[in-house]
């Protein structure tokens, strides 16, 4: 019996057990405090869909052996830029959002290519270098947002007519367009069908890609670069593909995120945007060397449910301050630390 329990614990992993029990406690708390569960479920579903694509962006990077992609802000910046261009072109609705995605792909692909070349030069410390690449790109683009020649009144500051706003509302463009596509209501729960469909479709495409020849090559490189070289796979090329793919998905991810959030956030906002996806995929059971689609779905659901339910419960518990935000910091960074200690620690 004890052996069996140990096996189950090993299979699910200790941190996941802690987080699931924490989540159950929170749900119990929500019931006790009589917080309407259907509204919480709706929120959880929305946040699951809007963050999912960003979490998915971690998969190709981890698979190809470059570790957790802390340089995700690079893709995010490209996505934001593409989104702004679609507004500048004065497009509305589905046309606008898909144009934004289409524009973001070449932008992300080019920057992802250079990022990938860099990561190939710094094998072994990709995460640290990637992190600072992300940080420097975000702060460089802060200057960029001030000087880019956008003309549309929705984007630039109204009075000075120079520089871009810190948040750009999408109300008249494609605010919640995916969320409301074919959405329906069960009881009090609103299901954002379009959003979740989009996410699952992206997951499915990724799943297919991972089973293609290139995808298997990617995985081989991530598992064992020497073995991959011996079997005639270009290690550097596979890593490059993984990084480019990750950056591209990051760019699309932020557009999905923004349409649900209702705003594009500029300037310092993308600085720490790589951390929640990293934490989510790790909570889902991924390590710095292995990630599956199931980890993405599981992790996003757990992490976002945790955040959604923690907020009202924490507010009932302590009315002052923002306890759920503190819980988010501790949980997300704690899980990253745990994953780092598990990744070939010791020697």
């Amino acid at each position: 019996m004890r052996e069996k329990i140990r096996l189950v614990v090993q299979n699910i992993g200790l941190p996941r057990i802690i987080i699931i029990s924490f989540l159950l406690t929170l749900i119990f708390g929500a019931v006790v405090y009589k917080i309407p569960l259907d509204a919480l479920t709706t929120d959880t579903l929305v946040r699951f869909g809007m963050n999912g694509v960003l979490v998915l962006a971690m998969v190709p990077c981890i698979q190809s052996g470059t570790g957790l992609n802390f340089g995700l802000p690079l893709g995010i910046i490209c996505g934001i830029l593409a989104g702004l261009i679609s507004i500048e072109m004065n497009l509305v609705g589905f046309q606008a959002i898909f144009t934004a995605m289409l524009i973001s792909i070449p932008l992300s692909a080019i920057s992802g290519y250079f990022y990938g070349v860099l990561l190939n030069k710094v094998k072994g410390s990709e995460m640290m270098v990637g992190n600072y690449v992300g940080f420097s790109v975000v702060s460089l683009m802060c200057i960029g947002w001030l000087v880019l020649p956008f003309k549309n009144g929705e984007i630039i500051w109204p009075i000075s007519g120079k520089g871009l706003r810190t948040t750009i509302a999408l109300t008249s463009r494609y605010d919640k367009i995916l969320n409301e596509f074919m959405s329906f209501k069960i009881g009090g729960v609103v299901v954002p069908t379009g959003l979740i469909l989009f996410f699952f479709m992206a997951c499915f495409l990724m799943w297919l890609f991972m089973r293609s020849k290139t995808g298997i090559a990617l995985k081989a490189v991530g598992d064992n670069p020497r073995f991959a070289t011996a079997s005639g796979i270009h290690v550097d090329r596979a890593r490059l593909i993984g990084t480019v793919l990750s950056t591209v998905i990051g760019g699309i991810g932020i557009i999905v995120y923004a349409q649900s959030f209702g705003f594009f956030q500029l300037y310092q906002a993308p600085l720490y945007m790589a951390f929640p996806p990293v934490a989510a995929i790790l909570i889902g059971g991924a390590s710095t060397r292995n990630a599956k689609i199931s980890h993405v779905i599981m992790g996003t659901l757990l992490f976002q449910a945790l955040l959604t339910i923690a907020l009202p419960v924490a507010n009932k518990l302590v009315s002052e301050g923002n306890l759920s935000e503190v819980a988010r910091i501790i949980v997300s960074n704690g899980i990253i630390l745990y994953a780092l200690t598990q990744a070939g620690g010791g020697e």
Binding site: F70, L118, K121, V122, K123, G124, S125, M127, M128, V129, N131, Y132, V133, F135, S136, V138, S139, L140, C142, I143, L146, V147, K162, G163, F275, V318, S319, E320, G321, N322, L323, V326, A327, I329, I330, N333, G334, I336, L337, L340, T341, A343, G344, G345, G346, E347
Partner: protein, 432 residues
């Protein structure tokens, strides 16, 4: 004929040798040289009065150097840049909040803070060291994430546990609801308690410094020649150093006699002496057995292990020293600033200290006191001039501010990248 050939050959060989050396020196110091140029351009663009820049610079260097110097020992031990000095800064802030609560003022308050923060810093450093031993090869990212993680715990402590679990009734510090520490705390009790002990004008300091150093050089030389009876080997070096120190003194004397505005620049002597002592400590520790062990571990962990060094223990000690120094550094910083931003003062400490060290020309594997001091001066010159320079150049002060955060992040990124790249090239050479 053959003789001539040989002569020509030697000449040909010798000439590029010098050039090579010069090139090497230039390449090794390319980062500080680049930043000196950027700073000079910034100073020129900003058009601020030099007196203002100098005054600001003195204050900033005095309050920031200590924490930058705290980064050196982990680099020596091969652990890279210790971004977890954030934890040390937290220890310092915990102590300073306690001392403000107890209303101990002045120098006594400062000394109590230092005493109080040390055990906290030792514990934090020990835990950090243990964690970093579990993630060898990924120390920097781990220490950075650890900083974020600890920040969460720190917020939990001061926002929710103070007033509920930890009893504290102090309307000045605690929020009106009785739970949580206020966002900003006035540190009037310990403000300038170290800086204002003894202040001296810059010119007088220069004279005193020059005289003192020349005296030390002469005494040292005399000791060598007359007591140890050994012939001084590099007389030129002695002469050059004595000359430099004498020149500093003379320049000070000259400025003092000319009613220049620079006479008004006051230096916080005690703070500078404390920083000097830390420099001496860093020099001293390298020469001890422990310092030798740091360096051995930093060179090659396996060889260190084979030669009977407790690698893990040495690494933990390195981190503990660094954390304690960071805690003291944060206290020096806060007593100069005078207000504590409870939830923000420590956040960027690790990043800016690392950026300063790297701008000074250090790398992930090599850092000296010179790098730390030079880097602090350069980074803070950039900080002083960049908003105004941005405004004059592009009509927006924001651009300058973003530029300096870009520089801080960028220099860390580039230097980490270069180091990893060199490492990869070297390991490739080894295998092939």
């Amino acid at each position: 004929m053959s003789e001539m050939n040989v002569k020509i050959e030697t000449k040909v060989i010798q000439k590029p040798d010098y050039r090579k050396k010069a090139k090497q020196i230039l390449l090794e110091n390319i980062v500080p040289i680049l930043f000196i140029i950027i700073c000079l351009i910034g100073v020129k663009l900003a058009k601020q009065p030099p007196l203002y820049i100098l005054n600001e610079l003195v204050a900033r260097v005095a309050r920031n150097s200590f924490i930058v110097l705290a980064l050196i020992i982990p680099v020596l031990a091969g652990m890279g840049l210790n971004f977890a000095i954030v934890l040390g800064a937290m220890a310092g802030q915990i102590a300073i909040i306690a001392v403000t609560h107890w209303k101990i003022t002045g120098l006594a308050g400062l000394l109590t803070t230092v005493l109080l923060c040390t055990p906290f810093a030792i514990i934090f450093g020990y835990l950090t060291g243990k964690l970093l031993n579990k993630t060898k090869g990924q120390e920097m990212i781990t220490s950075m994430i650890l900083g974020f993680f600890a920040n969460g715990l720190y917020q939990l402590l001061f926002l929710f546990l103070v007033g509920t679990i930890i009893p504290m009734k102090n309307p000045v510090l605690v929020l009106s609801a009785g739970v949580g520490i206020k966002n900003t705390i006035d540190l009037t009790a310990v403000k300038y308690s170290l800086d204002n002990i003894f202040k001296l004008s810059m010119t007088k300091t220069m004279i005193a410094f020059g005289v003192l150093c020349v005296a030390v050089m002469i005494v040292h030389l005399a000791y060598r020649v007359f007591i140890k009876k050994s012939k001084p080997q590099n007389m030129i070096k002695y002469l050059v150093y004595t000359g430099i120190f004498a020149a500093i003194g003379t320049v000070g004397l000259m400025i003092m006699n000319t009613k220049s505005v620079y006479n008004m620049v006051l230096l916080p002597i005690v703070t500078l002496v404390v920083i000097g002592l830390l420099c001496l400590f860093n020099v001293f520790i390298v020469k001890t057995k422990l310092g030798q062990e740091f360096r051995t571990v930093g060179q090659d962990m396996h060889i260190a292990k084979v030669s009977g060094i407790h690698v893990d223990k040495v690494r933990v000690i390195a981190i503990i020293i660094s954390t304690v120094l960071a805690a003291w550094g944060q206290i020096i910083f806060l007593q100069n600033i005078g207000t504590l931003n409870t939830y923000g003062s420590h956040e960027q400490v690790g990043m800016f200290a690392a950026a300063a060290l790297l701008i000074g020309g250090a790398s992930v594997t090599k850092a000296t006191i010179g790098h730390a001091l030079m880097g602090t001066i350069l980074l803070h010159t950039l900080f002083i001039v960049s908003p105004q320079a941005g405004k004059n150049l592009l009509g927006s002060a924001e651009i300058g501010e973003y530029f300096r955060s870009f520089v801080a992040y960028g220099v860390i990124g580039v230097s980490l990248g270069l180091h990893a790249w060199k490492h990869q090239v070297q390991s490739k050479k080894k295998t092939s």
